[in-house]
């Protein structure tokens, strides 16, 4: 039996090692590449670890943002930081609005008894079945006609509509776990429904709201299709758009491309590692990301 236990551990740790390499390996290679000189990057066999650690590509991006055309760095590098800020604005606004509007929409679905409740819930979820591509065409057309394309506010609005259904679903299932007695106590003390939500439900649902906000942030951070289609000038690019421009441009050197990729995943990866418990619980109750 003891031999059996040892065998089990060996199998487990060998598979764990394979899993570890498969999970973080590709990403670490990207990070490692971003700290090399272009000529080291292009060596055979590849140089595994950067030696020395070169920060030129990172410096280029900051210099480019500050000095503009005078810095002599490629165009994509110069506008990268601006797009990074745009991504923050979009993802942050989406997270804030989605959680607030989503919480009030989720409450009646979780707690009130009214006609059409299941229809409403189904309708909200079914809206996610329509492929974004088929909506993209009219959205772009209308946005151009009313002069709202090329604005990141429009992007916030569009992202909201895709993320709200998830947030509502997640929050209504979270609200259901809050004991009814607490709400009843508030009602007996004379709270209106709005006060019940604001003073009892929302504070108790803080972990659920946090999960929802983080997931909303991450989903809109990674959104690409609408960011691409609605952007007409560099002022409204998000980081995913810039990354795609970098990646499909053959004239830019590899280090710059890779560095842009690394910088644009820093926020979501930090979030993922710092808030992993919230994310995992949110994912399991909402089954997200598409």
């Amino acid at each position: 039996m003891r031999q059996h236990a040892r065998l089990r551990l060996i199998v487990i740790y060998v598979s764990a090692a394979v899993l570890m390499i498969g999970t973080v390996g590709p990403f670490l290679w990207l990070v490692s590449s971003s700290f090399q000189y272009e000529r080291q990057l292009l060596s055979r066999p590849p140089q595994w670890l950067p030696n020395p650690i070169v920060l030129d590509s990172y410096r280029e991006i900051f210099e480019g943002a500050l000095l503009g055309e005078d810095s002599g760095v490629p165009y994509q590098s110069r506008i990268f930081l601006r797009s990074f800020a745009n991504s923050f604005f979009v993802a942050g606004s989406v997270a804030a609005v989605a959680v607030i509007a989503g919480a009030y929409a989720a409450y009646p679905l979780a707690r009130l008894d009214f006609r059409g409740r299941s229809t409403l819930l189904f309708g909200i979820l079914a809206s996610r079945l329509i492929p974004g591509l088929s909506l993209a065409i009219p959205i772009v057309l209308v946005a151009r006609q009313i002069g709202m394309s090329d604005r990141i506010v429009t992007l916030v609005f569009i992202n909201l509509s895709f993320i709200l259904p998830y947030v509502i679903w997640l929050l209504q299932s979270y609200f259901k776990t809050i004991p009814m007695e607490l709400e009843d106590a508030g009602r007996i003390d004379g709270c209106s429904r709005l006060q019940v939500v604001n003073r009892i439900i929302l504070p108790l649902a803080l972990p659920g709201l946090t999960s929802a906000a983080i997931l909303a942030f991450m989903l809109s951070w990674g959104e690409f299709l609408f960011a691409l289609l609605l952007a007409e000038t560099p002022a409204s690019y998000t980081s995913t758009v810039i990354v795609s421009l970098f990646a499909t441009d053959v004239d830019v050197n590899y280090v710059s491309i890779i560095t842009a990729g690394v910088i644009s995943v820093i926020p979501p990866i930090c979030f993922a590692l710092v808030f992993q418990r919230f994310i995992i619980s949110g994912l399991l109750s909402g089954s997200l990301k598409g």
Binding site: F114, A136, V142
Partner: protein, 302 residues
């Protein structure tokens, strides 16, 4: 609402409250999903090309009929299915294996589970960039490793030839989709009570028998959910195609998502683009329903 101090305050009906509470969210969703959807249906029934302004015209189902008789619809459809089936299969098998591993108790499994979130957190476009670099024909890590190990004698341009491009596209796409599937399957595994396995061991059931007669049947509802979700996502793939292959080489990865994009935003034919997008939506919906009915019935205990 009239507040009256003497009597208990009269409240709105629950239905009215629901309307007020959910109005902002519902309006946002309606304005950017429902309204565009209706416009998309309208456009799909018209000749509507931005290159020929002023010539918009109602043509009924002509756009749809044209597509159904056009290899530019059927070939991308076939490519889409090849990609979707391949991806769902890879995601399912790999995430099931990882979930089975993480369901075992051993020191360090919490760390592994946390690290799984790294690929999940990477935006699809950055993932495409990452794989473009890994698969680079002159300097890519995949080439370097295969070369050093003696698997290949010279560096390959895998994104430039069939069927390699499809295989690597599936791998690259699956890499960021496996973590979520794994977490879902893991949560499914954790609902299976441990004493079922114990009594099976007492009865002399081996590892494979325990998997085939306990784990797999009990995990089936969660497996169905994962299959349906991943199928829906894979059918509308676009981001990774844009960066990694642009539909090439020679249309080898021209999926419907890419076809819709080029038709609409490069050829500016909004009518034709809308109708093919509707077709993709209808196929996705039909498959989701078929899968749901089929898998759900199969998963239900006898």
């Amino acid at each position: 609402m009239q507040a009256n101090a003497a009597r208990p305050r009269k409240e709105m009906s629950q239905g009215l409250l629901a309307v007020f509470f959910s109005a902002p969210a519902v309006l946002i969703i309606a304005a950017s999903i429902l309204v565009p959807f209706c416009i998309a249906v309208y456009l799909s029934l018209h000749r509507w090309n931005l290159k020929r302004p002023g010539r918009e015209k109602f043509i009924g189902l002509e756009n749809y009929i044209d597509w159904l008789g056009d290899s530019d619809f059927w070939e991308p459809l076939q490519t889409t299915f090849t990609f979707a089936i391949g991806s769902v299969a890879v995601i399912l098998v790999v995430s099931l294996l990882i979930a089975l591993l993480l369901n075992e108790k051993f020191p360090g499994r919490g760390v592994l589970r946390a690290l799984l979130l790294i690929p999940w957190a990477i935006p699809s476009v950055v993932n495409a960039l990452l794989w473009k670099w890994l698969l680079n024909p002159q300097y890519g890590l995949v080439n370097a490793v295969a070369y050093e190990l003696g698997i290949i004698t010279e560096y390959q341009n895998v994104l430039g030839s069939m069927p390699n491009v499809m295989i690597w596209l599936v791998i690259a796409y699956s890499w960021i989709h496996i973590p979520l599937a794994t977490l879902l399957l893991l949560s499914g595994l954790q609902t299976i009570p441990g004493d079922i396995y114990e009594s099976a061991i007492v009865d002399g059931a081996g590892l494979w028998q325990r998997f085939a007669y306990i784990t797999f049947p009990l995990l089936r509802p969660m497996l169905s959910i994962v299959i349906i979700f991943e199928m829906i996502f894979a059918l509308k793939v676009f981001d990774i195609i844009f960066v990694l292959t642009a539909g090439g080489p020679a249309d080898a990865t021209n999926v419907l998502g890419w076809q819709i994009y080029t038709e609409t935003f490069r050829k500016l034919d909004f009518g034709a683009g809308s109708s093919i997008a509707m077709l993709l939506g209808a196929i996705t919906l039909a498959l989701a329903i078929i899968f749901y009915v089929f898998l759900d019935r199969g998963a239900r205990p006898e």
